[in-house]
């Protein structure tokens, strides 16, 4: 498995986020990648050619890009490192939920297989990071549970929060203020037909939230799986 530069790693990871992780599509355009990474399309274009030469992505002139098997393997490895470090920061160093991402962005580039496997062991092989995102195992396998957005949840159901789609500090702090955290149970009390505001109950406290906000809360729901 080839070793990538810091920059190459960021491109591969970005492409992973835009394709495999986003769910709704399997390839990404040059401009899209550019705005995701905060780099100009012209620069991205250069890198796409380079990554194609290295057989890490599929790319044709004027076409969209996607990861090859090899590229995906490398990307999953970076994601694994990122999420293990986030878990470490949150659980062992008492970082708050909204602080872990920025530091993990740096730590994910440390090259040492032994380090990351030992870290995994030290953290007792966690299956999800503080945001609820799944952590790939050492073999690169990523177990994705059946998850949905809170906004699609039915009234009367109780679900469990497992993640978020928005990592901005503003969003995370807002969530925090509502008592929302990973593994927190949420009961849907009602939904207002006029403006779609949802009323939820968290730790006995009721709050009304916008669909825009609910959209970015990821949950799993046993009630939804029940046959009745």
């Amino acid at each position: 498995m080839q070793v990538l530069s810091y920059t190459e790693e960021n491109y591969i990871k970005g492409l992973f986020q835009l394709t495999i992780e986003a769910g709704d599509k399997t390839e990404a355009g040059t401009n899209e990648i550019a705005s995701h990474l905060g780099i100009k399309p012209a620069s991205v274009n250069d890198m796409l050619k380079k990554l194609k030469d290295k057989k890490l992505i599929q790319y044709e002139k004027y076409g969209k890009s996607s990861l090859t098997k090899e590229g995906k393997k490398l990307a999953v490895d970076i994601v694994r490192k990122h999420r293990l470090w986030e878990t470490f920061l949150f659980e062992k160093l008492a970082f708050s939920w909204d602080e872990v991402h920025e530091v993990a962005e740096q730590l994910e580039h440390i090259q040492s297989k032994k380090l990351i496997d030992k870290l995994d062991q030290f953290l007792n092989y966690p299956s999800a990071d503080p945001h609820g995102d799944p952590i790939p195992n050492a073999k690169g396998e990523l177990v994705i549970e059946a998850r949905k957005s809170l906004v699609t949840e039915e009234v009367g159901h109780t679900c469990k929060m497992v993640g978020v789609k928005d990592n901005s500090a503003a969003f995370l702090q807002y969530a925090d203020s509502l008592g929302l955290a990973i593994n927190q149970r949420i009961k849907i009390k009602s939904r207002q037909a006029y403006d779609d505001l949802m009323e939820i109950e968290v730790k006995g406290v009721r709050n009304r939230i916008s669909p825009k906000f609910a959209e970015h809360i990821i949950v799993v729901c046993n009630d939804c799986n029940k046959q009745h």
Copy 2:
């Protein structure tokens, strides 16, 4: 306090090692820095000018270089990070003594004051890394105990190993095979006048070691401080 590039940090750290830490001199030449960092003198020359402009080093054409107060502060900070990470790897992740350095070389460049202060706390504010080298505190203060090389120790004295001067795997593994470790007591049994080989006793086991080897073992000795 300015933020340095990865490369600039390595130069500042290298200069710190060659001057402040080496003990026997306070400035270093261009070729010396070059061979220490594994970079050609011509490249070092460029960087010295750059670091001088940033007021991190004192340097005049054809002269030797040394750190300014500002440069030293930054260097101590890097050393602090390096040694805290080594301690983490050794104590929490069960890395062996001779494996920690390489990974810490990468980790020392992570930029996050909060991270390093939390790590310090997590490790319970250690005063020395697995090699016995002192860890500067958060204020950048570095407490250096009275230490000497094992090669200068007197026959009959018992001393305590606190560090090494050679971080090569070969050296560290050799030390390990003799039972030598941080905080290990060492008794000097004899010294052969003909070839200067020292006979030492470690955990009841006697071995003869070369002055070349003993030179790189750092000890503290109470016997030496006694008046008699």
